[in-house]
Symmetry: D2
Subunit: 142 residues, 4 copies
């Protein structure tokens, strides 16, 4: 699965399958959030922060808020890109800008705020120092 | 399926099934958007705007933007309520406030903007006059 | 949420929402398996076997195999029933017959074999004795 | 997205994301059917039968029946392969054997019968002659 980075933007190819569509004949708008999360996950993995890292640190990441604007629909078989850029890192929070594109067209765009919490899933926890540094280094605004 | 209305708020009971959860042991945050849409759909149906109405009018509704803030997680078997309130109606657009609650607790809240478009799914179309009036009458701010 | 039982068959009303459909304009066939599981879950709950019972007994249920035949498609807004009947109970295994119906029409039908395993999710475990008796009493072939 | 063929078996790499998991901490068993369909879709695409071909021929493919046996669970982050092999082609029907594997381990396996129908989605239609020949040529039992 190829992916490229330029100017701090991570881009993951996503193919639209029948599971992603709805009776309107287009991608069900909720599913763009899944595509965006796949991209965030691969961005984090590319920086060394996979499931094992997170388990070893006894922390969890939860989505605090999400906002998406939809511009154009995608359809079955479309070859899309889901992008993720780190645009904010502080204390216990990571902010990412995300988009769904087809070629040069932006089909949807938005941002998501992710909170670092302890294993109970409730109590905020500061990001591990090394993670904070790496994420800041990978930030699109760095 | 019972549902009640008070002060313009529509509330749909939603049970959490295993399909709704993720490996964090909680409801996958993306799925709250499905619960919210179920509530919007039932609100519209209760006002007479079901699939047949929409087909007969040759129009479509598409989500233009959505924003959700997450406060507390829900878990397997939880009995939730997904609420929807019409808070804005103009020209070709409907705005709804939505929440996911468990008893008095608000687990997630947000709003969604829905655009009325023609059958092609692209060109904006004014809401049918009778619909405009009914939705304004059902508005939480009416 | 109403549900009725006659001759050992449990029936859960299921409304088709846009989330359930695909670009073919019908319910995505994979989603019938979710409807079937909702019905199984409510059948088990009606017998006293909810999440708490299962946690207290330190056991888990996993699907061992599933087979479904599809006869007719369901569409957006359709009011369906997902049925579940216990047709086999032995040792560590429960077999259920299931169907998706609209009125008298059977849209899909199949069966699922569920295995009782220990908390690790791997090792088979005999059903608790009281559960075995209750399930046999509720069996459609009892 | 790489994929390889040997002995008529098509294999598609599939990464497990949080969207695929459930509160049991494993891949939700229903989602294996999505992985299997992705693999079928890519197999058909590799043979020249993509959405455009199907639209041009005014036909549709619907799943007639599906059966899956589950052997071992997959977990978050796992790198799986979803395989598809054409094992039967006749008249209006295609049968495929499918599996989900991790390395040499078979996590799930089954088969699916796909029926060719006309645009109404109901009436059976013979496979186009050129398609019949190509699929037989690609059959694992050819």
């Amino acid at each position: 699965m190829t992916s490229l980075r330029s100017g701090g933007e991570f881009s993951l190819p996503v193919r639209v399958y029948i599971e992603d569509t709805d009776a309107g004949g287009i991608v069900y708008y909720v599913n763009y959030l899944k595509f965006m999360e796949r991209s965030r996950t691969e961005l984090m993995r590319s920086l060394g922060f996979d499931k094992n890292f997170i388990f070893n640190e006894d922390l969890m990441f939860v989505v605090r808020d999400v906002a998406v604007t939809y511009f154009k629909p995608a359809k079955l078989d479309d070859a899309l890109n889901a992008t993720a850029s780190i645009t904010g890192v502080k204390g216990a929070t990571i902010i990412m800008q995300q988009s769904i594109r087809m070629g040069e067209d932006v089909l949807a765009a938005g941002h998501v705020t992710i909170a670092c919490v302890d294993k109970t899933g409730v109590k905020p926890r500061r990001l591990p120092k090394s993670m904070l540094q790496t994420l800041r280094g990978a930030s699109a605004r760095a």
